[in-house]
Symmetry: D2
Subunit: 337 residues, 4 copies
């Protein structure tokens, strides 16, 4: 942390700040400049709140330097983490495709879509049995019945299953029936749920919140790792901005940013990221090209009749075309598909 | 809902859209204009997803018209709802002040602050026993012990207590020990928690999520009302924007917007809304002047040593000065303080 | 500026950064911490670009410390600047009201509105003769004719005139005919126009750009001061966010932020800040309560027929009611109205 | 436009709105629904302001339907526009690369970079002779001398030149010396400059403003087309959001959105879009993969000593590597490189 003094700060004021730092048991390093003095703080454990010194006399501003994340940092673990979802490895040299319906609606629908995406080249089956819905009057998912349908589709196709848990109760069931536990954007800072996910025996796919900074996303992952579960995959699914032609703004620069700071893998969800079928394929290609470890893509065999988010689902045929494109892009990044 | 056709849409394409609307059991109303045709949809129950018709041939765009909220709407209940928190009424002609420490740290601290804010004119005691923290390594609150301290402070001062519940477990305890259950910004779309709050016997203070639209805030309130709890207070606490001189951007225009649409009361939290002590008083005055039904203000008798969010807490003396200002502003809005 | 090294940075890497700093003629101050080393830079003239050292081996991040603004800073001039617009002083102990139509439409309209706002207590007449319009097909203002109408209204009512200049040509005319030159949000970083305004003999009202940071707003003011014109008033008129119930999000926390950093006065424009008549009065009261030096309010005697932005204009009667409210709020801030 | 009535609107109120519509010479189409009545408006020329009817009794809200853009719309011209910059065609089946230094600093620097990017496969030379800078104290560009250096580089390498004009004076010179006139993000709504660009004899590259909606970008293009210059290229360069790990948030979904609405080509600028060298290559690949017609990439032979935006410039070697990647991605989109 760095305390920047005003130009007209007196020697007494500077000494006062130094005393305040030392009173907390930290070390103060005064850096006298041509125009003003700055005072570095060391010895603190990262838990010092930046603004604590802001109201001392003569202080212009206080600048945070160190980050609070530890276990997720490349400084702690330099090599890439590879997460294993039922035998499918994410974070290595493969581009992993998770595809399936937004919501599980019936056994027939789930099997139909699972067969189609498997045939087209998907590695994982995604689909919601528990749906977080803005309105209490919207379809909320089939729950346990939906999980059983996903498991049946896995049995037939061999595709491991990624599905969302909304609360402690559904997390117990998702952990039992699925292969990867998804924590959705709205729950990114549901810390009770994160801690429970950190004690789960299955990997966790953690989606970025709608207005989460990178630091906040990493700290939420830290909650999971701190409980002992190191199998965490991050997911960019678009953030909320003023931009009005897509449901969210897909913030793809997070992929190289994440790769620089953390060893955890990151995937991109262009379906929620755009909310519009006509943009999903284009942003999927972009997600692969920017260097994501995988993509989450909604596919429905009859999107116009889907019970949830139909308009952002690809048809199986469109998904096949997309995979053909991705097979050409993946090698540019040194990835297999 | 309104389907807008392209200028060059053919009569066949228009007929196709009309058929698609009618196939869903709705009624289509074609409105031929000089340049293009628009088709209104009626008979739907509000659950129709806007984008469902977007991919039909000849369609330019689809515009949502009706809103999904019902119980929270002034169209359902025209007169203002007045929420009663342990005898303190919010939503009527009083400007209600809830004040207290960000986090409950000790019985002595809680009593000290409660006495001071009571003496200064506060009506409710606020303070966190369960703290949602970005970092797993930060102080997470005293839990049940904290709730007991708040109850002890209520016993002495008579101030009813507002405090946050983070999950089902803490909500049970907050419902038992406090007078109003706060749902924080990070949990605004924790639908399991909202439903539980809807079955609580105490009023709920629902904070706006960091990037929630007004529609989303109202739909989250709708979750609570739909379970039978009509005692809901909305709370603006700042939204996340690019703006960099305050922790959040306090979006005060939501107050008149809420008043026009819903019968529920709304309060403003300038402490979290700005994150900086030096702006709290100014934005508190602004919150009162814009017409809020109340204010949530953090007060700590020793902000520099506070375990959580000290830098955004006012001293008791600064709070007294603020209340003096608010006593002059409240009558301008026809409110008592 | 502060260069933060990675935890695993070698002594060689640290020495390399120190050499790179010294090679630019600056002084390096290494601060060895328990976990990592940080290196302060002094001696630079503020013009050093923060990211320049980011790609050196061993560097984790680079943090900017000093700000580029000078003349606008309270560090250069501690006391408040008071700007004189035709005898009306902004920045002292008065709450100054500028009112008038969005666009000048006719002499009769201008005189009618000017008389009404004068009678209601306004100090300045505002109105656009040159209108920046998103569409080339919208009404673009009456130009010089409009300026003459404003001057005629000033002659009759005694209200000095504030009006916008869009380019060098219109600035020449505004400087000649009006009392204060407004630079609009879209031109906040039109540096050629700012420099010309800096050579004008009249005060300048500089509106914040739609997504401008405080630093950018101050740097644009710095352009004007650097050319010799110290009579600059800042203006908050709302920023662009995801928030959807008002045209812009009025960012009132900028008022105390500006007061802390700069000696320049700041006014608030709730008409553009909300875009909706039903919110203008509420946000005007909030603007006064937050401590603004003045308000810019659109008033039209027949808003439903206004050629430009009618829906955000108050009627004269609504303006009178608002002034009555403001007369009660201004003294709370120690201001006269 | 659609006027939505309240559920409890009376027949008189509905009739009142119909009369208000007809009084303006438009046609009203009442659509009675099960819950409420909506009233469509036709016959208007797109210039009607949506909020004009909002304050009439019984009105719930007013929804804009038609868009104001005309000449830029695919409804007016269905086939793609191909813009010719000195023989290089943008908007067809080629992926066009414009590369060069952020700022022109010297003849030698310009020639060095131009030779390197030409050898690597670039089609156009970009570089700033007039630089819009946040600070009045930063390097503002070499002006006419810079334009002459760019022309000299074109003479030697054959690369046509794209460079920014900041105002009317520099636009005259850019039109004379360069092959394509760039209008920067800060000037996207400098309507005087747009009109002048519309009368220029050279193509115009129009950058999206930092918080511009798609509609606003298209309307600014409309200003240029309306003056007779149909050779306009749009450019996405990142928008301002809360996201903090890149200078701007590159909003790539605009590319398919633009392709659906307008016939104009669109290019992507990943250098300004990210502001950090370590993200430029990744986002360049993403820009190509999303379907952009071209890329604008900053290249400097000595980025650490560049006078402007060095940290976002690629080295020539990094640019060569990037072009090798792009040669593999372009064919996926059916494009040549």
């Amino acid at each position: 942390m760095l305390v920047v003094m005003r130009k007209d700060a007196t020697a007494d004021q500077i000494a006062g700040v130094v005393r305040a730092i030392e009173a907390r048991g930290y070390k103060a390093h005064a850096i006298p400049g041509a125009q003003r003095t700055a005072i570095g703080i060391t010895g603190n454990k990262g838990a010092v709140e930046a603004p604590a010194f802001e109201s001392l006399p003569g202080v212009l501003e206080v600048i945070a330097v160190s980050h609070a994340y530890k276990l997720v940092s490349r400084e702690v673990k330099a090599e890439d983490t590879i997460v294993d979802i039922g035998g499918v490895r994410i974070g290595g040299d493969a581009l992993v495709l998770a595809a399936g319906p937004c919501a599980v609606e019936s056994l027939e629908q789930t099997l139909t879509v699972a067969r189609r995406v498997k045939a087209a080249g998907a590695h994982l089956l995604r689909g919601g049995a528990y749906k977080p819905r803005t309105s209490p009057y919207s379809f909320q998912g089939l729950g346990l019945e939906g999980l059983k349908m996903l498991a049946a589709a896995r049995e037939e196709t061999g595709l491991p299953v990624v599905t969302e848990a909304l609360d402690l109760e559904s997390l117990d069931l998702v952990e039992e029936w699925a292969d990867c536990i998804q924590i959705g954007a709205r729950n990114m800072q549901n810390f009770t749920l994160l801690r429970r996910a950190g004690r789960a025996k299955k990997p966790v796919l953690l989606k970025r919140g709608m207005s989460a900074t990178l630091e906040e996303l990493l700290m939420s992952a830290e909650y999971i790792l701190a409980e002992g579960n190191y199998q965490v995959i991050l997911c960019e699914r678009g953030v909320r901005t003023f931009s009005d032609f897509s449901r969210n703004t897909l913030d793809l620069a997070i992929v190289p940013a994440v790769k620089a700071i953390t060893h955890l893998p990151i995937v991109v969800d262009p379906s929620h990221g755009t909310g519009r079928r006509d943009k999903v394929a284009a942003l999927s290609r972009a997600g692969a090209a920017v260097g994501a470890d995988g993509l989450l893509i909604e596919v429905h065999h009859d999107p116009d009749r889907a019970l949830s988010d139909g308009p952002q689902s690809l048809t199986p045929a469109a998904f096949e075309d997309l995979v053909a494109d991705l097979r050409q892009i993946a090698p540019v990044l040194g990835r297999k598909l």
